[in-house]
Amino acid sequence: MNTDSTKGYLDMQLLRFTTAGSVDDGKSTLIGRLLYDSKAIFEDQMEAIERASKGRGEEEVNLALLTDGLRAEREQGITIDVAYRYFATPKRKFIIADTPGHIQYTRNMVTGASTANVAVILIDARNGVIEQTRRHAYIANLLQIPHIVACINKMDLVDFDEAVYNKIKADFVEVERKLGIHDVHYVPISARDGDNVVDKSTKTPWYTGPTFLDLIETIELRRDKNLDDRRFPVQLVIRPMREAFHDYRGYAGKIAGGIWKPGQKVKVLPSGFETEVEAIDFGGDEIEMAFPPQSVTIRLKDEIDISRGDMLVDPACAPYAEQDIDMMVCWFNEKPLIERGKYIIKHTTNEVRAIIKEIKYKVNINTIENIYDDKKVSLNDIACISVKTTKPLFFDSYKKNRVTGSVIIIDEGTNETVGAGMIL
């Protein structure tokens, strides 16, 4: 590697994508192929799964074993948890959140989707758009993953028939319309043989679009974050107590929205005081500008009493500051959600107690219909609820900002994370 290519590597962009699928739709094969073709699988890992495949009496190397990390998973031949995988091409570095696709693992899908830029949805060409496809699309949309790649897989088993591809595409467009999804890309592939995964297939002359890898290497990520509305949840106050920095007082945090520069006007929530950005520090340097998702330290012109959980915002477009909040929740716990129950809500760097005022409706995620007559919200259920918090949260709708619009719900007794909420 010469200096140029070292520099090239340093300039790569990071893309996080999530894959959801069941045992047979070729998800693991697709991931295995990407890892193998990008040389992210090492010899010892390959040897280990060759050994394991043989031990299970399988003829071919089972690339799925690569993603099944826990002993219970290998024993049962299933993926239980979200597994994170990494690979890089000269253009981008990728983080895959690999999640099981069965309905009983909705919570894992939601978890994997929460940080993703792209959702990869696999559709078996023989089966077309099925209940599970709709469920995956629904979750991708609920979590506001900005881009969806619909891979119509196993094209080899339908003779690479264009008509089959077009029919499935038309069916998925229907789902798109129903859910209001914006950016969907379609690609016909055979993960097993590698058609249109990394290299263009000679068997699909009718398909003129990019390969799967081309797509995820080039999807535009710039608009995925909110660069319009300045939001800065204060994580902690930096007070050095050192002679050289006697009067230093900085607010550490991760930028949740907008483009920040010294001199800009700032409103502090909840106090409402207004001041200006004095400087933005990072690791000992003053920087000219900061934007999401940078972690920085902001200094202000005036000395104001500010602590963790407060938020610095643009006075011209402040977030909501309210105690009555409606949200969609995905429930994660064996213990059902209790109407009128009390929970802890964690939102940005803030933490408040809250009461569940009302369960408005539940969603049947297979048919994407609202259910009003059964309000029992159990493990893996998705519902619309109203909560009242003990003090105001400073929030935006999840659609507008995934950082300031998301919460987790914690059980006060067990300390477990029992739900995830997306503010409406």
């Binding site: 590697m1 070292t6 340093l10 790569m12 962009q13 990071l14 090492f42 010899e43 890992q45 690569l66 993603t67 990390g69 826990l70 219970a72 948890d81 979200v82 597994a83 994170y84 990494y86 890089a88 981008r92 570095k93 919570r107 894992n108 939601v110 978890t111 929460s114 940080t115 660069l227 994580q235 902690l236 930096i238 007070r239 050095p240 107590m241 920095f245 550490a252 991760k254 483009i259 520090d281 990072f282 690791g283 000992g284 934007f291 998702p293 940078q294 972690s295 994660f332 964690k346 939102h347 760097t349 995934r402 950082v403 998301s406 919460v407 987790i408 914690i410 300390n415 994370t417 995830a420």
Partner: protein, 301 residues
């Protein structure tokens, strides 16, 4: 026009700093596990950046197996004094002397597994409620399912099937008395990212990572560093070779790479061409298919 995007190293750095600051904010008495290896050196560097110009607000905890490379210990002491942080040492030798741990015997005897007991003791004695570690998900398949905030029960155990869901960057560090957390800020980094970051930030590493002459011997397909307390098999002999360490752990289980690389760029080139994972050179992980998972459940790093 500005494109307002960060390169992947900057984004990973921002994520790691955020996690470290969360630890400082959510816990009363955290510590940073420091081994002297490159991952913990990067962790120390990130911690310095996260809180600057304040000092790092937690001590470093080193679990000393008593079988360390001299160079690694010297480096540790130097770094700790530069950063002005407190160093707490948990000694495996003391655990053995007091009868809490029993030394393994035989040719592949290692104190690696014994570290778990010493680590849990140190966490309990010092009342640490969170321990920051440099573990990465790309290292090993059991680690691939690890959370950033990993909950441990009062026995220090990890229950992989019952982990808390972790969404967005909202970390739940709530716990009952006696429980603690292991926190892994560089979860999403790969070995390559760590080396590229060391290159980008010009971070100093112990000399062991660069090419040097060392007495070593060949066992089970790899070169191991020789130290007087190690038992050689009849057919093994000590030879001097030009080597470097790919990871730095206990001497007994740190594999060496025959290498002439003496700059970070050369090391990166070497790694880019390597076809064996970093942990493939750690004898401790070869013991069984689920070696790491088992040790982690017991409370290992």
């Amino acid at each position: 026009m500005e494109d307002f995007s960060l390169n992947h190293l900057k984004e990973l750095e921002a994520e790691a700093i955020f996690v470290m600051r969360e630890v400082a904010a959510q816990f009363e008495n955290p510590c940073l596990l420091f081994s002297g290896g490159k991952d913990s050196i990067v962790m120390a560097y990130l911690a310095k950046k996260a809180f600057f110009p304040a000092r790092i607000p937690f001590p470093f905890l080193h679990i000393d197996t008593g079988h360390n490379f001299v160079e690694a210990l010297e480096f540790r002491d130097q770094l700790v004094s530069e950063l002005g942080v407190k160093l707490v040492v948990g000694s495996v030798q003391e655990s053995i002397d007091s009868g809490k741990a029993v030394e393994e015997s035989g040719y592949n005897a290692s104190r690696n597994k014994l570290q778990t007991g010493t680590l849990l003791d140190a966490i309990e004695t010092n009342k640490f409620d969170a321990a920051l570690g440099g573990g990465r998900r790309d290292e090993e398949k059991a680690r691939a399912k690890e959370r950033f905030f990993s909950h441990r029960d009062e026995f220090g155990q990890w229950d992989p099937k019952n982990q808390r869901p972790e969404l967005w960057h909202l970390f739940n560090g709530k716990k009952h008395i006696g429980e603690h957390f292991r926190v892994f800020p560089i979860s999403n980094w790969t070995e390559m990212d760590v080396w590229q970051y060391i290159y980008q930030e010009n971070i100093t590493l112990p000399s062991l990572y660069y090419t040097h002459q060392r007495e070593c011997f060949f066992r089970d397909g790899q070169w191991l560093a020789y130290a007087p307390f190690m038992k050689l098999k009849p057919n093994e002999k000590v030879e001097v070779h030009t080597v470097r360490c790919r990871t730095i752990g206990d001497i007994t289980c740190t594999g060496l790479t025959l290498s002439h690389a003496d700059t970070i760029e050369e090391i990166i080139t070497e790694i880019a061409a390597t076809r064996v994972t970093e942990r493939g050179s750690r004898a401790d992980d070869k013991r069984s298919e689920a070696a790491m998972e088992d040790r982690k459940k017991e409370g290992y790093f």
